[in-house]
Amino acid sequence: MKYIDEYRDKGLIMKLADQIGKSVRRDYTFMEVCGGHTAAIHRFGIPSLLPGNVKLISGPGCPVCVTGTDFIDKSIAYSKMEGVIITTFGDLVRVPGSASSLEKEKAAGADIRIVLSGLEALEIARINSEKKVIFLGIGFETTAPGTAVTIKQAEKDNIKNFFLLSAHKVMPPAMEAIIKEGVNLDGFICPGHVATITGSTVFNFIPEKFNLSCVITGFEPTDILQSILMLVHQVNRNTPKVEIQYNRAVTDKGNIIAQRHLSQIFEPCDEQWRGLGVIRGSGLKLRKEYEKFDAEKIIPVRIKFREEDVLCICGDILRGLKTPEDCALFARICVPENPAGACMVSNEGACNTWYKYKLIK
């Protein structure tokens, strides 16, 4: 299949793996920030193709995994209100809140509907004008423009029963937080889809301020291996910079139209990340002129603050400090059908991916 097969060419992959093997001179640790990369790395068995001294660790780039317990608890509280329909991406329904999940509430009778886009949620609002329809907005710079367009459409069509509960986030502040956390890293496999929107320059602070290498990477096996090779070269030469491997999609400026939608609808806010705590300027909230669509402003809801499960080490995994196998719950109590932590829920979560694509040693 065109645009797929070329990037999964076995001969090319073996050649890249061989070049990485010949280029390594020391131990290297690279973090893949994006959950899509974590999934691809395990799905194709990339670690089995790398030399033992190249270590990949998973970062906080799965939007479901980094969504805080309080967001889930809030969504559940809304779902219990009379006349409310919750619309959400499918992944989120199984994420455990402090006492329940949206999936359990749905089975118990709450009106929770799975949608593939914000516009689909808007359509539900249009059809059910007597109900309040709340869309759970999660995702990074890649998903947030879709929500921005939805809000604009709601405004244009004068839809008054559509609301957004936003947990949208932006990536660079989280990467900075991880570096400051003291995770031992040589460089980042930077998120290709985020960069398609933002452009490559948003990552410039990483080599400039922290002396770490960055390669913006695509999602096919040849993309990932080529990027690892580029990172190894950068480290060997001690020339940290931002390079674009995924140049068939990413430019330095990014998608200006999407950026404009984002800045017209949203403004930065401090945001809670599961495992990382509150990171300054890492969230996106609706601008004042769109507050009438803000669920929290229009339909206030109160939840009790609860501690996250002390045994679950999702936080340490998201920060790259530990791997799923270090967790006492992993594959014993915490399994995809009964997730204890968010990293086990999403297809892109580090624990789910490790569980599903266990490597054969």
């Binding site: 068995g45 999936e103 749905k106 569980y355 266990k358 054969i360």
Partner: protein, 335 residues
């Protein structure tokens, strides 16, 4: 288990198995292994008996409708057990206000498919419920067929040996994607048509010419990956699959890439997995490929000795990974 039944428990994966075992099997006293059809011996005859409910949404999709599906599905459950499907009973739960014309079209499709498969629809039941008490139309079909004594091993796979080859009769995932497309959930159209078809004639030709057919199973809900894991558990061996040899049509592949689905977990309604003794695989392949329903058949892997009963996938790029049972749903109601 939770206090309330969740959709995931209907996905065909681990949670469905848990539901069936904890709620039904122990109360009904059903003997394991659970296969596509029950094999019943009475007064010198051996019968295969099966039942299945159809709740597909939407009722009409490219390549078929709920009626055609309800006949094919039950015919195939009998055929993969090695039986010759003969009689079908059909029950209908209809929502008040359902268009009569649609019902006539659906019944017509059932009659046509039954004729094609050579089965008779001989009994049935009709219930109409208040609006909102069911979603348009649900159909349950039960079927029975004659099982020759030399076919009794097929549904349990008890003659399977390491070295046996695994064959499928064509590309995976078309039914699931066709239904998804028909649901108008995608903002674009797909050229994908459901593979919904009765496989009994094709299977009979294989069984007539090949003596070493060790197991068959149709690849419905949960897809190939689920069937392989059930099989490995049943026979206590491992299975190796070569990803590059598993046929998947380009439009299905493309949509899977976009939506994050794995074709190995997607439902089919006209695909069968055949396990054949080593040495017989080419003959099976030749027979399958000479039929329109098996034109794109491939040998996809083999049975290997492995006490851990793992299904291992050799990925197309040269890696290896475990192909596990799905733990939740990939897609909502598709059969």
């Amino acid at each position: 288990m939770n206090d309330f039944v969740s959709l995931n428990q209907g996905s065909g994966g681990k949670l469905t198995h848990e539901l069936i075992e904890k709620v039904f099997v122990k109360r009904f006293g059903i003997a394991e292994p659970l296969t596509d059809s029950a094999i019943l011996k009475d007064s010198g005859y051996t019968l295969a008996f099966t039942t299945d409910s159809y709740v597909v949404d939407p009722l009409f999709f490219p390549g078929g409708n709920i009626g055609k599906l309800a006949v094919c599905g039950t015919v195939n459950d009998l055929a993969v057990s090695g039986a010759d499907p003969r009689y079908i009973a059909a029950s209908f739960i209809i929502e008040e206000g359902f268009p009569m014309n649609d019902l006539i079209v659906i019944a017509g499709s059932m009659a046509k498919e039954a004729l094609k498969a050579g089965v008779k629809i001989v009994a049935g039941d009709t219930k109409v419920v208040d609006k909102g008490k069911c979603d348009k139309l649900f159909i349950t079909t039960s079927g029975t067929g004659i099982l020759k004594p030399d076919m009794e091993h097929i549904s349990t796979g008890k003659r399977i040996k390491p070295g046996d080859k695994l064959i499928i009769n064509g590309p995976l995932g078309n039914h699931a994607i066709a239904v998804l497309g028909a649901r108008n959930k995608l903002s674009f159209s797909t050229p994908v048509t459901s593979d919904c078809a009765s496989l009994n004639h094709l299977i009979r030709r294989v069984l007539q010419s090949c003596k070493e057919i060790r197991f068959m199973r149709d690849l419905t809900r949960g897809g190939l990956a689920t069937v392989l894991n059930e099989l490995a558990g049943m026979i206590g061996s491992g299975i190796t699959i070569d990803e590059a040899s598993v046929p998947v049509d380009d439009p299905v592949k493309g949509l899977c890439e976009m939506l994050g689905f794995d074709p190995l977990y997607l439902a089919n309604e006209g695909k069968v997995l055949i396990v054949a003794g080593a040495g017989e695989e080419t003959r099976v392949l030749d027979i399958l490929r000479s039929d329109p329903l098996g034109k794109y058949s491939e040998i996809i892997g083999e049975i290997v000795p492995d006490k851990k009963k793992l299904v291992v996938l050799n990925t197309s790029v040269g890696g290896k990974r475990i192909l596990d049972m799905p733990s939740g749903m990939q897609l909502p109601r598709i059969c």
